[in-house]
């Protein structure tokens, strides 16, 4: 994933992924790598070809919700309308990039408003977005945020409630192992609740609050991979290396990460 390459160009990111041995990536659609706004987005075919030329497939996308003014629980008509266009464009871009999955989160409200208002905004917004996704053949993977990031969906209970209330065939669930750890939960807890509806993951080494590369946190990697295998998980293990300390030299972070992960990879 290219989120920690934000101080470098997209070309540099792709070169590094090729050199280090990543064959599939999740595209973080943030600047300076990818332009997307409520009106449009970059030429996806050019980006797909650029990646393919280095033997890399773009398999999923994340449209940033912290980087810009747009989020899924936006407080008013104008903000919600602009946010909806923005995330809808993310779905169109995902489709053009030939990705099956786009990650989403619930957005967030503020502490000086009733919680149910922010909840309702997020639910209605995501339900509308699911219709767009269905039309494009894209699955939205709902991610819980940490409770310091969102007061709406931030643990298994709230994820399950949102997932059930929306109840849309284009909505699945993903586990972010950092939000999971911050909420005091385990992978088994997530599989117990969601089973086959757990379709995607951001799979990082937590301590538990920071998005570390493997080896920099405290998680039991072997046990967690065993859980993924035991539960029949067939989705991706996306390396969403998001901590700022990796931004200066993201390639080194990816090399170290791969050095740990490749011990567990079988061709």
């Amino acid at each position: 994933m290219n989120q920690h390459y934000r101080k470098y160009s997209l070309d540099y990111f792709l070169e590094c992924q090729h050199r280090i041995g990543f064959e599939s990536v999740e595209l973080w659609c943030g600047s300076p790598h990818f332009w997307i706004d409520p009106q449009g987005y970059d030429d996806c075919s050019a980006i797909r070809k650029k990646a393919a030329a280095r033997g890399i497939s773009i398999v999923s996308v994340t449209v940033p919700s912290f980087l810009w003014q747009y989020q899924c629980a936006a407080e008013s008509g104008l903000r919600a309308e602009q946010s909806f266009r923005y995330f809808s464009n993310g779905i169109h871009a995902a489709s053009e990039l030939q990705c099956k999955i786009m990650t989403v989160n619930s957005g967030w409200g503020i502490q000086t408003e009733p919680k149910q208002e922010a909840w309702k905004r997020a639910k209605d917004f995501l339900a509308r977005l699911c219709d767009v996704a269905q039309h494009e053949g894209v699955i939205l993977a709902l991610e819980a945020l940490r409770n310091d990031e969102s007061n709406i969906v931030n643990d298994i209970t709230s994820t399950k409630r949102m997932f059930d209330e929306i109840g849309h065939p284009s909505l699945k669930v993903m586990v972010d192992t950092i939000a999971m750890g911050a909420a005091g939960e385990s992978l088994n807890d997530w599989f117990d609740v969601f089973g086959r509806d757990l379709a995607h993951s951001h799979f990082l080494d937590g301590d538990p609050h920071v998005h570390n590369i493997w080896g920099d946190g405290n998680y039991p990697l072997e046990d967690m991979l065993q859980t993924m295998n035991d539960r029949g998980y067939e989705g991706l293990l996306v390396q969403e290396v998001a901590d700022e300390r990796y931004f200066d030299d993201p390639a080194l972070a990816d090399e170290r990460n791969m050095a740990v992960l490749e011990r567990f990879i079988e061709d």
């Binding site: 934000r6 101080k7 332009w35 980087l67 003014q69 104008l78 503020i110 000086t112």
Partner: protein, 280 residues
């Protein structure tokens, strides 16, 4: 030491992101403040590069009701970048966004639009980055001037920018844009990380220093006074000796004070009133 009025103390809504703007304004009024640096960001103030905006009239009304003036408008940079490539969608969006922000600054009767150049790509040549940023600022300064607003530039942290985390970059920019009306702000949390001093700032940038973000700090970022590692008395003495009488902005960016920003402001104001001679 020179006595200064507590009206120099200016609040900021940068750490009130989990609360309404009304809550922020009520807190500032309770603390007896008369001016703020307005952090232009969701959930308080919403605008984008497509000319859309929301919340400005409500903000004006609340500020007016509490007799709070906007000493500077600091729009959140989001993903926009002054270093973006000419002709790119990001470049057009960046210039459109900041032009919109200039217009908002003017409507809020703020003399200053505050920018920190961040987001320079590490694999792009420095001279190209410099030219892009400098040209963008030149354009924005012209627009700002026509609205009666001045662009004010501050130092970035090393994590935010390779080019603009050095004092020399600001003095070079001043030489290059000498007739543009460009101004600068001094941030004491950056002084701490860059091993600079106030005398150096006033010697090199003097009357072009528009205001000061006056906060304590540690390596991880700004702190309420007394919670960081900066010598408050010494810094205040140096500002006084330099003849500075402008705003002292309590700009507490980062996550640390988001849970209870009002408590952080109360501690900070109490400390500052004591420091500048009105707290006894």
């Amino acid at each position: 030491m020179q006595q200064a009025p507590s009206t120099m103390i200016a609040g900021s809504n940068v750490h009130y992101g989990r609360y309404s703007f009304r809550y922020f304004v009520e807190t500032q009024a309770e603390l007896g403040l008369t001016q703020i640096e307005l952090w232009g960001s969701t959930p308080h103030l919403w605008c984008n590069h497509l000319g859309r905006e929301e919340g400005i009239d409500e903000i004006s009304r609340l500020l007016y009701g509490s007799r709070l003036a906007v000493s500077a408008f600091a729009p959140r940079p989001y993903g926009y970048s002054l270093f973006s490539e000419p002709g790119s969608a990001l470049r057009e969006a960046t210039l459109s966004y900041y032009r919109k922000c200039i217009e908002i600054a003017s409507r809020l009767q703020s003399r200053y639009l505050c920018l920190v150049p961040i987001g320079d790509c590490a694999d792009t040549r420095e001279d190209a980055l410099w030219a892009r940023c400098s040209n963008a600022l030149h354009e924005l300064c012209k627009t700002a001037k026509s609205h009666g607003v001045a662009i004010v530039i501050g130092e970035a942290s090393p994590q935010e920018s390779r080019l603009f985390s050095r004092f020399e970059a600001l003095t070079r920019l001043r030489r290059g844009l000498s007739t543009s009306g460009l101004k600068f702000f001094l941030d004491t949390s950056r002084l701490g990380t860059h091993r600079e001093n106030i005398a150096q700032w006033f010697e090199k940038l003097g009357e072009d220093i528009a205001f000061v973000r006056f906060v304590d700090s540690r390596w991880a970022g700004p702190r309420v006074w007394g919670e960081g590692c900066l010598p408050a008395k010494r810094l205040w003495l140096q500002l006084s000796q330099a003849g500075y009488t402008g705003p002292l902005v309590m700009h507490l960016s980062g996550d640390r004070y988001q849970d209870d920003p009002a408590a952080a402001d109360r501690r900070n104001v109490q400390f500052l009133k004591g420091l500048i001679g009105e707290g006894k």
